[in-house]
Amino acid sequence: MTDTTELVREPQSKPEQKLGLVDCDIHPALSTPGELGPFLPLRWREHVREFGMRSPNPLMGALPYARIGHGMRRDSYPPEGGPPASSLAFMQEQILDPLNIEYGLLHALNAGPSVMNLELGAAVCAAMNDWQIDKWCSKDARLKGGISVPQEDAEASVKEIERWTGDDRFVQLAIVPKSLEPLGRKRYWPIWEAAEAHSLPVGMHSAAYGTHANTGAGWASFYFEEHYSFAHTAQTALISMIFEGVFERFPKLKLVLVEGGFAWLAPLMWRMDREWELRKGEVPMCKRKPSDYVRSNVWLTTQPMEEPTKVKNIAHVLKWLGPDKLMFSTDYPHWDFDHPDRVFKVGLSPEEKQGILRDNAISVYGLN
């Protein structure tokens, strides 16, 4: 295909018969904050009313940074009112039907995993899970949920995972990367054990919320610093899980890094491998080359697509990662949405394209 960066629009062509695809990142929204209420036990409804939901993030009730268009696609507000992606009918009309989405994987972003009151966090996660089924997955079989867990309390997390045993409307765990400790530490191992036992990949979606500031040096000044911090936060989690031996202990565990970028992965593998060769004695629980674990246990989603000035550079990155590591995602309804017809500006073989848009996710998540 072309390697030019010329982007002038040609006259419209007839849309081809579209291949079904899997969108690995859709964010369903509450129509109103109170919509979660019916899914919370009375004890916690009263608690929230009297004490609120305290999280370690500054600026309660608001994001720390002003985002482009409030973080939303400007055309994603449902005609009947309410926030973007709060209406199933409009979500169907705007992306599920026209993009021919065979499966849409939900990441129901919520404060449950990071509120400071752990028991409240567990109740919020459970409520979000019931809500995902009630409002979305039970109404449209294309939509698949992610089990939200109060990850700083491993015992409660396992309990929540087991509550959904055998329910194939959930296809993964939803984990927040800005955890209290690096995610390879043993306090999280019961969660990894349960995920492996129940064949649930761990979807680790970048998030503004979490139990720490967004950089190792504290809170950054600007939204775009936060946006890039998603990459090093994902790296921190991945490096920790590899060197602490998580994938050695749970060899069938699947980790999916969502919305953290992907172009950084190859250089990270080179560096981890080299340093591991030099002094692997320090990490005897990491028995194989770090990149081996990436090859066998780790996948990444595409959005926000890396956009080098020379678009053909993406071809090198894809070659380094291999054709089976990437899975397409839109991030609907967020402002940095990627469109499947337009996001790959570099030539891909039909097999590579079908793998990224559909087959890799079908295989990783055991869909169909």
Binding site: L7, R9, G69, D338, H339
Partner: protein, 136 residues
């Protein structure tokens, strides 16, 4: 090439856009208050509908604290925020390579339209109305 009647002037609120279809093309028409503008509808970056974008005056600054909003009107893509000049179609960030096609737009009384050379494809023109004409 031809002049096409695409809508009545009161069908588009000020600073809003409307998607129209002319000769197989999707065109975003904007009401700029004192005039209309039209560009190809799909954003060349990832294909969003520019008709749903935000219309705004281009801010210019000579230095810190010294700025003004010019008459130059732009549309900001509803997804990633690419901004296009509504007269030239060129993007602010990469004007030479990333651009949309601008179309000539005019407004005409319905009475004058009966004689042509206008092409009215989709609706009846009333002689007492004012209409937006796009040249394609």
């Amino acid at each position: 090439m031809g002049k096409h009647v695409v809508c009545r002037v009161d069908e588009i609120d000020i600073k809003m856009g409307k998607l129209v279809h002319v000769e197989g093309r999707d065109i975003a028409v904007f009401n700029l208050g004192d005039r209309f503008a039209a560009v190809s509808n799909k954003c060349p970056h990832e294909g969003a509908d520019l008709c749903a974008g935000k219309v705004f005056g281009f801010p210019e600054a000579d230095g810190p604290g010294c700025y003004r909003v010019s008459d130059r009107l732009m549309v900001r893509c509803p997804w990633h925020g690419w901004e296009f000049d509504l007269e030239t179609g060129r993007s602010y960030v990469d004007p030479n390579r990333v651009r949309v096609k601008p179309f000539d737009v005019s407004v005409s009384d319905g009475a004058g339209l009966a004689e042509g050379p206008y092409q009215v494809e989709t609706f009846e023109v009333e002689t007492d109305g004012k209409y937006v004409i796009v040249e394609v």
